[in-house]
């Protein structure tokens, strides 16, 4: 198994103001790696959802902590870890609300709860743990359908 070639970490206040900043940064990384436009958009939404979950939770608790976003960049995939450094929220409760709107009447619709469902749908692999804070780890593979063995590693940009 190949090892990570690069690791990028961000640590931002758990406030709505910074969700867009994280999203743009991840978008830049994914673009650099060669993801297609639609894949980049998927990654942007997934990361925003994970960070937004932390932000909403932090607000509910009046405990405005930090949220840490780590990105491992591999040849064939990006692994993004979003860590809530505040108190854990109840993953089981949230998971119960997971799922599309299918067959629900308007009254039954939940105004939240679509976030984790979107992460799960848009990324290739998602793991959630809530042992110490909540950790959402999500992976998106690059060019899954291609059997190209000679993909260049991310090479340093030529000096200007």
């Amino acid at each position: 198994m190949r090892t990570a070639s690069d690791y990028i970490e961000m640590n931002v206040p758990a406030k709505p103001d910074y969700v867009g900043v994280v999203r743009l940064t991840i978008s830049g990384l994914a673009n650099r790696m060669g993801f297609a436009f639609d894949e980049i958009e998927d990654i942007k939404i997934a990361v925003s959802e994970a960070v937004t979950n932390v932000v909403n939770h932090a607000y509910a608790d009046e405990d405005k902590g930090q949220v840490r976003i780590g990105c491992n960049i591999f040849d064939d995939r990006i692994e993004i870890t979003v860590v809530d450094q505040g108190k854990s929220f109840d993953v089981d409760t949230i998971s119960k609300n997971l799922g599309p709107v299918d067959g629900k009447s308007v009254d039954q619709l939940n105004e939240g709860g679509l976030g984790l469902f979107l992460i799960d749908t848009l990324m290739d692999k998602v793991e959630i743990s809530s042992e110490a804070g909540v950790v959402v780890m999500m992976t998106k593979y690059l060019h899954r359908d291609e059997v190209e063995e000679h993909v260049d590693r991310i090479s340093p940009a030529p000096s200007q």
Binding site: D38, K44, V101, K104, V106, E111, G115
Partner: protein, 110 residues
């Protein structure tokens, strides 16, 4: 990373034209403008999304809230001009089934 909301009113019809992004940061602004409009009996709220290039579940939540409010207050909510990206998340989440969405994307000649 901003959201611009332009508002037009013709009789009972309120038209909102949105430009920018709807996420956790900008969604409260949208809610503040849109929700009171859906609370007026008989009003028709038309939201043009052709200028939206990013929306996530926080934005979807605002529309779900507005839809509930319109049902409760005898008003109606219509969405139009969705780009393919925005339409996709409405589809994935199943909201296309419950929302009044006008098909046809403006400004996206393919």
């Amino acid at each position: 990373m901003n959201l611009q909301i332009n508002q037009n009113q013709i009789n009972e019809t309120h038209e909102l034209h949105l430009t920018g992004e709807v996420d956790a940061y900008t969604a409260p602004k949208l809610k503040e403008v849109m929700l009171p409009l859906t609370e007026k009996d008989g009003s028709v709220v038309v939201v043009d999304l052709s200028g939206i290039d990013y929306m996530d579940s926080t934005g979807l939540g605002i529309f779900v809230g507005a839809l509930k409010s319109s049902k409760a207050n005898n008003s109606s909510l219509k969405l139009r001009g969705m780009t393919d990206r925005v339409k996709r998340i409405f589809e994935i989440t199943g909201l296309t089934e419950v929302m009044d969405i006008e098909s046809g994307v403006k400004g996206e000649a393919l």
